[in-house]
């Protein structure tokens, strides 16, 4: 972060680029969704909330752990991981500090909050105490799930060479599926994104709860437990990373 502040142009350019990128994404989404009317009962406001949960989680987790997801492999191959290991600080913590750039956070959060507030206003959404607490917990859980996914995908570097492509497929292509209501996809996609790689817990199930679209017991239970699932998934990701680090320590590769 300090290095970005030293180069002011990079800092302001980063803020503008991120703001522009997210604004264009939301604007296009809004135009297309308005044109289609609704998708499987999800109106433009509902899908904005769906997209908002996803974007918030991804921007925060990306600022913290994208370096681990995409660069851990290079750090291992170059031997730089050893430099992290000789310092009295956690490896992930050091990587998070290294990748943390506030300019990548300001634009996405600002644009997302504006579009979500507009969406809530348009449907006259009543924010109760429970909703507010659930909303905060769901956003936190989404950040933890996305972060966990990044950590696990980065940890593949301990077992394979150049796994960034897998990270890219999961964090870009597969994640893009969750920008749409999960109910429009075949059952195996829904189950995969719920139980195998729980990206749907980042936004779909919390949106069902918030927008009162829960129809089955399964949706209600998953929606209610998704904040807890975020914590569990993040802990699991740390475990995977530690296992990988133990492998590195026993093989140096």
């Amino acid at each position: 972060m300090r290095s970005r502040r030293i180069c002011r142009f990079t800092f302001y350019a980063g803020i503008f680029a991120n703001f522009y990128s997210y604004f264009v994404t939301y604007a296009l989404f809004w135009v297309i969704a308005t044109r289609f009317g609704n998708i499987d009962g999800w109106g433009v406001e509902d899908m904005t909330v769906l997209l908002g949960f996803n974007a918030l989680a991804y921007s925060v987790s990306g600022v913290l752990f994208s370096y681990a997801a995409y660069q851990l492999d290079n750090e291992i191959v170059s031997g730089n991981l050893d430099s992290y290991l000789v310092r009295p600080m956690g490896i992930l913590q050091q990587m998070a500090c290294r990748s943390f750039v506030v300019d990548a956070l300001i634009g996405p959060i600002f644009v997302t909050v504006v579009f979500m507030v507009v969406a809530f206003e348009r449907i006259s959404y009543q924010i109760t105490a429970f909703n507010f607490i659930y909303l905060a917990a769901a956003v936190t859980s989404g950040i933890l799930i996305q972060s966990g996914a990044m950590i696990i995908l980065g940890s593949l570097s301990f077992w394979s060479v150049h796994p960034q492509k897998i990270a890219s497929v999961v964090l870009t292509e597969m994640r893009a599926l969750t920008n749409l209501p999960l109910s429009i996809f075949p059952d195996f996609v829904r189950r995969g994104l719920t139980y195998a790689l729980p990206l749907a817990l980042v936004n779909y199930y919390p949106s069902l709860m918030i927008m009162r679209k829960v129809e089955t017991n399964e949706e209600f239970v998953i929606g209610l437990l998704s904040p807890l699932a975020g914590v569990c998934f993040f802990i699991f990701s740390i475990y995977v990373f530690s296992a990988g680090l133990r492998r590195y320590s026993s093989s140096g590769a």
């Binding site: 300090r2 290095s3 730089n80 050893d82 009295p88 133990r246 093989s251 140096g252 590769a253």
Partner: protein, 338 residues
Amino acid sequence: MGGFIQAEALSLDYVATKGGGFFKSLFLGGHETIHAIKDVSFSIEEGEVVGLVGPNGAGKSTLLKVLLGILAPTSGEVSVMGGDPFKQRRDNSYKTGVVFGHRSQLWWDLPVSDSFNLLKKIYKVPEGVYRQNLSYAEEHLGIYALWDVPVRHLTPGQRALAETGAASVHGPRLLILDEPASGIDISARRRIMEFVKRLNRERDATVVMATHYMNDTDELCGRVILIDHGSIVADMPLGAFRQRYGGRRAIKVDLNAPMVEFSIEGAAASPEPGGLTWRFRLDPGRITMGRLIDAISERAEIARVTVEDERTEDIVHEIYLSGLGDNLAPEYAEPWME
């Protein structure tokens, strides 16, 4: 286990994938075990300065990584500052300074000052201690001249000075140096060696240094551990090492006029460009210094003769040429094959 650093029958194996054809490697991935460190035992007392020397791939850096707790040994026991370095890596890192000559531990985009301030926070160094250690590094390494320069703008020599200073900012009890003076100018190299020497003498830091450059060992180390193919092949005080494997004398002869060619049995000759200065390494059993001087006098007028101790670098070079372990030439074989 006693000793500041203690290793007993230490071994570390890698499992590497064997080569093969494309399709074969896809379905029948063969593996082979590489013995990076083999049954190594040694002890280093607090306050010692030990040089770890050996050719590329000998296992020097791997051994340092084990001492740092980066790699866990496959078998055997190791203790650093009273505990298992792998299990207490974080605790030990507060008391250990590390310089990797081939990679930077500083933050590339930040000025040197910011890197030092970050390290102060990471190592939780009290302000007073930090100021004291910084002044010490400034006094001997000239850190303040680099203070506001982003690390990426430093020359290799300046970066090495900053890296060494950064490794000392938390007042380490143990300094691990892996090729600290690799590829840097002579001035920076001397300052670094002098600084490390002072850290050892004035601040009781124990130093373990892996290097290719035996000059560094000559300047700094009281003891040499020679390692090859993952095994220790010699471990003794530097003086004993030189006495045991050296024995030959080196003579530098300056001439008043260039001498194009010269050779004599029992002395390896190496002229400097221009032919005005010649260096000879004498084999004591085969030629005397007097006979060599007489022979040169017959060919050219001698301006000055300087007798030099044989450099450790030359001794090790001879040992490498002779081969280690089973391939040792007879005159080198005896000491470590007993």
